[in-house]
């Protein structure tokens, strides 16, 4: 018999500390597989965020640093400008990317930095205990919106990917999810494209991944898959938001 699916080389053997049913582990693996398949493990530098994925450097088997909360796009910019032939990506949650790091995200995109961003959106601050994130849904209960998010008080879930798509500097933006095998395989295709774009010097690519946080949502891991389907996707629709390749061909 031969092994057809197993831990990719770009993932260490270390057991992750994420909660049971958390989507981060799947996204970590997708990135590791893509890096293996593109043969770029030895020239990749990852930038981990502050949030649940702050320990990502323990799980990836390539060079990884950790940035201050929200600053990965600035750190990645510094790295990429000095070493343009390396593959540089950031891995950020919704608080990191769309709240405290909004400016860094918007301006890295606007400069067309030739980097890849994997944006994991689960609608809450997980690590600090399930507080409201910028992407928290209307009426969603969190520890800081105990009665549900009221837009009159706390604004609306921010569609940062759509906003970034409006910028001239962004090249490719797609929203995917990992709530089913089919969607997970699609997510991997998008992540691969975002890395390939960088290798081909196309510029700023971002993949937003809707990801499960069963603990903060107060559901079990299986219910969390449905939660994404029924609650998140209607607000954050899946699909390509921007692809300059397709625009050029007139397909989008």
């Amino acid at each position: 018999m031969k092994k057809i699916f197993s831990r990719p080389e770009s993932l260490t053997a270390k057991r992750n500390i994420y909660c049971s049913g958390c989507g981060h582990g799947i996204v970590h693996r997708l990135i590791a597989e893509v890096i293996d398949e593109l043969g770029i493990r030895e020239k990749t530098i990852g930038v981990a965020p502050v949030g649940c994925a702050v320990f990502a450097y323990d799980y990836w088997n390539f060079d990884v640093t950790e940035a201050a909360h929200g600053r990965p796009p600035a750190v990645a910019t510094g790295i990429k400008r000095v070493l343009p032939d390396r593959v540089v990506f950031t891995y950020q949650g919704d608080g990191d990317l769309a709240a405290i790091g909004t400016a860094e995200t918007v301006h890295a995109a606007n400069r067309g930095e030739n980097i890849t961003i994997i944006f994991v959106n689960n609608g809450v601050y997980g690590m600090t205990g399930g507080q409201m994130a910028p992407t928290t849904l209307i009426a969603q209960k969190t520890t800081t919106t105990p009665l549900g998010r009221d837009p009159k008080i706390a604004g609306y879930p921010i569609k940062i990917s759509e906003a970034l798509g409006q910028l001239e500097g962004s090249v490719y933006i797609e929203r995917v999810t990992v709530n089913s095998p089919k969607n997970t395989i699609k997510a991997k295709r998008a992540i691969k494209k975002a890395f390939q774009n960088q290798i081909q010097n196309k510029g700023f690519s971002l993949v937003e991944v809707l990801s499960m946080c069963p603990i903060a949502w107060g559901v079990n891991p299986v219910e969390a898959l449905k939660w994404i389907e029924q609650k998140m996707i209607p607000v954050f629709p899946l699909g390509v938001i921007k692809d300059k390749d397709l625009t050029a061909k007139g397909n989008l």
């Binding site: 493990r41 030895e42 320990f55 640093t65 600053r71 600035a74 000095v82 070493l83 301006h107």
Partner: protein, 352 residues
């Protein structure tokens, strides 16, 4: 005369940075250091190096973090309010042991303050500045020549200790023009080969991680103790101070940066009047030249500290005297400049 060029202080910092081997510069506009960012916009591109006008000071310091992480000599510059924003990144750089040069062309504060030269950021610079438990070497030029020299040397010091270095100047030094002697040398010769900690892709080696989050029991303490030993080495080896006329002095003026130049003038005038005045000019504000103060406590009648603040360095002078010699203070704040006549009057009053 040796070959001198007339140069603005801000430009001298930029050129000093280039001669120090700066490979990546990240700036954000703020008065009174704009000429520096503008200078780098031109010169870094001429030298085919990295220049970015960042979207904020926060982004700029984190770009320095990234550039330094992959082995480049990197610099960012700003003025007081912008330096406050950079403190987050500076703390992370220290935690990750990343070198880098940060230049503060101080202006009046607190808050937005004004754009006049001031020295209100002494505490911030010499006590770490950001969160956590750390120190940085702080260099204080007092001339356009030293803006050039000390910025150049800051890169070596940063690499030597794998720690950020601050050049603490002010708006007057930034804006003024003076002749500068440009000294060219190979800046990378000493340290470039030793960067065996950078992230540049794990080809041919094990993957590395650079981080400052150290959650395991006792791990952070161990790390901080290691950094502490580094700070001790800095304290032992890097103190720089200029002294003048201390041998027969009754009163020593203590000032840094632009205030020190005012002190020098006051000392000359006092000496013309027959008053025996000496000078201590700390060039490194951290490590502070406490030894030279302590050594003179018995001979001197008093120290008079001159600053463009409500009194910050004066505390370090008091600590160094350890109560064994009176320490007086005269300062102007909010952009005010200490007056030579007033300094001389104060000295006369002290000696009465």
């Amino acid at each position: 005369m040796e070959n001198r060029i007339l140069m603005q202080g801000n430009h001298a910092v930029g050129e000093g940075g280039l001669q120090g081997g700066c490979q990546a510069y990240f700036g954000y506009p703020i008065t009174p250091q704009n000429e520096l960012t503008q200078y780098m916009a031109k010169r870094m591109v001429e030298e085919r190096k990295v220049f970015i006008q960042a979207e904020s000071e926060l982004a700029a310091i984190n770009m320095v973090f990234g550039a330094s992480l992959v082995g480049a000599r990197a610099m960012t510059t700003s003025s007081s309010p912008g330096i406050s924003l950079k403190q987050e990144g500076i703390s992370y750089m220290v935690g990750c042991e990343l070198p880098g040069v940060i230049v503060n062309i101080q202006r009046g504060g607190p808050g937005l303050g004004n754009i006049a030269g001031a020295q209100g950021d002494y505490f911030q610079a010499t006590r770490g500045g950001g969160h956590g438990d750390y120190y940085l070497i702080v260099l204080a030029p007092d001339s356009v020549q030293e803006m050039y020299d000390l910025t150049r040397e800051a890169f070596d010091l940063a690499d030597k200790y794998r720690n950020p270095v601050i050049v603490l100047a002010d708006g007057i030094l930034g804006q003024m023009l003076e002749p500068v002697k440009i000294v060219k040398k190979n800046p990378m010769s000493n340290f470039s080969a030793k960067k065996d900690w950078i992230l540049d892709g794990c080809k041919g080696r094990k993957p590395r991680m650079v981080r400052s989050l150290l959650m395991g029991e006792g791990v952070l303490e161990e790390h901080n103790l290691k950094l502490g030993k580094k700070y001790e080495r800095m304290r032992k080896s890097e103190v720089r101070v200029e002294t003048d006329n201390l041998e027969d002095a009754e009163v020593a003026l203590v000032g840094y940066g632009i205030s020190a130049r005012i002190c020098k003038e006051a000392m000359e005038i006092a000496r013309q009047k027959g008053i025996k005045v000496g000078l201590v000019r700390p060039i490194t504000l951290w490590p502070f030249p406490e030894k030279v103060i302590a050594e003179n406590v018995d001979r001197l009648k008093a120290f008079l500290v001159i600053e463009m603040s409500l009194g910050q360095m004066v505390e370090d002078v008091r600590l160094a005297t350890n109560g064994k010699c009176p320490v007086y203070f005269y300062g102007r704040t909010g952009g005010g400049i200490p007056e030579v006549d007033v300094i001389v009057e104060r000295i006369e009053k002290i000696l009465k």
